[in-house]
Every structure is written in C-alpha cells, then in structure tokens.
C-alpha cells in the first residue's frame, strides 16, 4: 500500500507509516510537530550551498505547486543572478478551492517546510524568507507564528522569516502576483520580460516555491537524492500530497508514492461512494479523466502527459458521481475562473466572459453548434495572450471536458435536458473574491 491518509476533515483512519515521508511522524491529532520533536525525529538540517543544487538535480524533484518544473533548474536560475540579496518565498497561499494539501502540511509539519526554505536561503544567498499565506486560513497562521517563535528561541542559523497575508483569490498564488504583492502592490500578476528569478520582490532575485516542494527539500537535504528516488518512477520520483474530494468515501489529504495507479489511491480513500462518472485531475486548471481511466492511469508526469495530455497539477483528484454531468461541472468551474481573473488583460477578461456565456447556454441545453464553434474559436484566441497562465489553464480544463464528455456535449447541443444541474457533482466553487491585498 502506498498511500497514507492525513486528512483534516476525515474520520480517523489507520496510519500506514510505510512509504510515508513528509507525513511520517506523529499523527494528525497531535497538531503541529514541535521543533524539538522534529529535530529529534529527523536530525538537524545541514547547511545549504551550491552542493544542494546538484543533489536536487540527482533527486529529480519537481515543483509541487502545479507546474512540476524541475526544482534544481529553478534554483539555478535564481543562483545565477544572486548576490546575497535574494528572497525566498514559501508559497502556501493555495488559492485552488479544491486543494487543502498545503495548509495541512504547514499546519502539521511547519518545521519541515521552514527547513527547506532555510536550505534554499543558504544556497541562493537570500537574506530574507517570506511565508506567503492566504487569509481565511487563520489556524495555519497561528500555528506558523508558534513555529516561528520556537525557531527564534532556538536561535537557528537562518535569515529572518516573516509572514505576509494575501487575499484568498485563485490568482493570488501566481508567481508574478506573489512578487507584486510582496513588493507592496496588489496580488495581481505583472507582465515582465524578465523572470522573477532575475528581478522579483523589490527587483531582487526571488525564488517562489510551493510549500510542499520545500518540505521535500527539507528531507532531501538530509537524506540525499538517491534516497528520494527510492520510491516513485524515473521521471517522477518521490511522494506527493494529493487532495481527494467529491465522490469518495474518505475525502482528505493523502501522501502518495508517485507512479501509483490511480485506482490504488482511490482505494486508500475507501473507494467511491457512487459509481464514478469521471474525475478532474490537477485542480481547476487540470484535466478531466473518463471513468474508464480512473483505475489504471499512473501518477507519472511523463506518462500522464504523453498518454492522456494530463498533468497532476496541484494534486487534486475530484471524482464525479454517477448522474452528474461533466459539461455542467466544467461550465461551473469555468464561470468561476472567468470571474476570478485579475481584470487586467483584454483577451482574458473578454475571452473568458464570452466563452463562459456560450457555455452557460450549452450547459442549459439551449446552445447550438454555432455556440460550440464560437467556444472553440475563442479557446484558441485566448491562449497565451494574458500576462499570466490563467486563461490558458481555464481553457485547457474546458477543452479537456469538451473532449472527454463528448457524448454528453452532443446531448446538450441537441437540446436534450440534462439533470446534471440538479445533482451535486463536485463541491461548488466559492463566490467571487473582493480584495487584492
């Protein structure tokens, strides 16, 4: 068995420490692991440095924020421009409504995440570490303040760490939005010809890294790249945190060995409540999977991409119950994403609004083939034309739904009523956000 449950809202489950890495140690009920226990369990961390970039390369660690970009390359990019004034940002904003892995992780294992950040600070010559946290996760903030206090009292050799709160918006976690917010502006993406690795927070080289990725770094720094590769596949080594929700018996956060079959992960969550009608893998920017794939798809980055055009994204697996409609669900999610743009770029604001309107008609079974043609036209028109990848993610998710649920789509276009609108498929997207600071 290769999946360990650490769910927050789920009923207590048997612990399966075998294969658990990030979540090895005290169970969920113990709250946040104190510094002493953390150090006793894992030992002190080494000092970071250029050596760590090589070890990360060996380990094959990829970013867990959604892009799955090789972490060593990201660090090398910052190191190239660094001169002692870099900034390390722990991105724990988790704007994805379906995901709760990051807040769970920082609540239970804050010191692992902070160790990873300290290792990054050593390696990249950073003089400050920022913990970027979303408002509305107040419990995580309190936990982190206590953890930071423990570290200060222990006088650990690391740069000062401060917490910066950000509004709980989908786009607030986007890299350039993070940099913008930390430079005193609003949490909105910014267009720049230079990447934040070169010019980020207050024009300094900046590393914006997902909290889970840094937790893995915290362990790789201690145990090495080979150890990390002990589980997982060649292209996707190690474990990853996934949030399972929707039509599953025990929704929650699970630590999973990469390379596992999706079916095993679902089993760890107790299987589905009703027969599955499909699933969304990777969050709101993810890919839809037909029900037949839910058993045998392997959680391997290359495999997912080449065979299914999919990505693990931020590790969300949202399963649809039988009776719900993928077209309706995708339209709901798309409309949320259209409402959650930063409102800055013409093609995104206008394009997503136009597509959303057409899809609402189609989902209500009053749209026709002309509406669908327009949707496809606009999907192509909108890709790559924003200051960030928000429009790309949104239309990617929609395009995959229109392909995977083609038969449902035909029914809608033919004007046949669909009771997918009555069935509660996935958790409803939240209402529109308000502030940008």
């Amino acid at each position: 068995m290769t999946a360990t449950e650490i769910g927050l809202g789920a009923p207590p489950a048997a612990w399966l420490p075998v294969g658990a890495r990030l979540m090895s140690g005290p169970g969920r009920g113990a709250g946040h692991e104190r510094l002493d226990d953390h150090l006793q369990r894992l030992g002190t961390r080494p000092a970071g440095g250029a050596w760590l970039v090589d070890v990360l390369k060996e380990s094959g660690l990829r970013g867990r924020g959604g892009a799955w970009f090789p972490t060593w390359r990201k660090w090398a990019g910052v190191a190239r421009h660094s001169s002692g004034h870099s900034v390390v940002v722990i991105n724990a904003s988790e704007g994805e409504p379906l995901s709760s892995k990051d807040r769970t992780l920082v609540s239970l294992r804050p010191h692992l995440v902070l160790d990873g950040a300290a290792l990054a600070a050593d390696t990249l010559g950073a003089e400050q570490i920022v913990l970027y946290l979303s408002r509305g996760v107040d419990s995580a903030r309190r936990t982190l303040l206590r953890a930071l206090d423990e570290r200060r009292r222990a006088r650990l050799a690391e740069p000062p760490i401060r917490i910066v709160m950000t509004p709980h918006r989908y786009i607030a976690g986007e890299s350039s939005a993070v940099v913008n917010r930390l430079s005193g502006g609003r949490a909105k993406p910014k267009f720049s010809l230079q990447r934040s690795a070169e010019k980020g927070v207050k024009d300094r080289p900046t590393l914006v890294q997902n909290a889970e990725t840094l937790a893995h770094v915290g362990m790789i720094g201690r145990y090495g790249g080979d150890w990390f590769r002990n589980v997982g596949t060649a292209s996707s080594p190690g474990t990853t945190l996934m949030t399972l929700c929707g039509n599953v018996q025990r929704p929650g956060v699970y630590e999973v060995d990469l390379g596992t079959r999706l079916g095993s992960v679902l089993e760890a969550a107790g299987g589905t409540v009703r027969p599955a009608a499909g699933a969304l893998l990777g969050g709101y920017f993810g890919t839809w999977l037909a029900p037949t794939l839910l058993r045998d798809v392997t959680l391997d980055v290359d495999d997912l991409r080449t065979a299914h055009g999919a990505s693990l994204g931020c590790g969300v697996l949202a399963v649809l119950p039988h009776g719900s409609c993928g077209v309706v669900e995708a339209t709901r999610i798309f409309s949320y994403l259209a409402a959650e743009t930063a409102g800055q770029c013409g093609p995104c604001v206008n394009g997503l609004a136009a597509i959303s309107e057409a899809m609402e008609r189609i989902a209500a079974s009053v749209g026709g083939p002309a509406d669908l043609d327009r949707v496809w036209r606009w999907v192509d028109m909108v890709r790559g034309r924003g200051a960030c990848r928000h429009p790309d993610g949104a239309v990617g998710m929609l395009a995959s739904a229109l392909t995977v649920f083609r038969d449902h789509l035909e029914m809608h276009l033919a004007g046949q009523p669909c009771n997918g609108r009555e069935v509660a498929g996935l958790p409803q997207p939240p209402g529109p956000g308000q502030w940008w600071r």
Partner: protein, 78 residues
Amino acid sequence: MAVNDDIGRRLRVNPVLCKGYGYCAEIVPEIVSLDDWGFPAVNPGLIDDGKVLHLAERAIATCPRLALVLEQVVSDHD
C-alpha cells in the same frame, strides 16, 4: 554555466497596459492582428525583415499606452 546567445528580436505586447487602441495592427499588420475584442495578437516569431522592424519601432512609438516593447531573445543553456 549559462551561455546566452542573442538570436534576434521580437515584438511583445504588455497585456496589462494594453487597452485595445489598435494602432499597432494598423501600422504593422505584418505581425499584428486584432482579435474579436480589438486586442492585438502578435506573431511570436523573430523579426527578420528590416522594413517590418522599422514599422514595429514606429508602432512602439505610437502606442499611447506604451504597451509595446521589442524583446531581445536569448537562448540560454545550462
């Protein structure tokens, strides 16, 4: 060790600044066309024609929002 090679230049639009005036599409339609909402879609390829480059520079100077910029494209190897 990173080696940067300057391959050439291309026109980029800052979509945050752009408000859809559309002058660029009139001045250098060779590489800029307008979408359904009047916003520019710029050809992402390198500009190899001197005449087109000159027109692109004119478009950059005419944009009232200063939303256009000529990007030096480099290829970096690690």
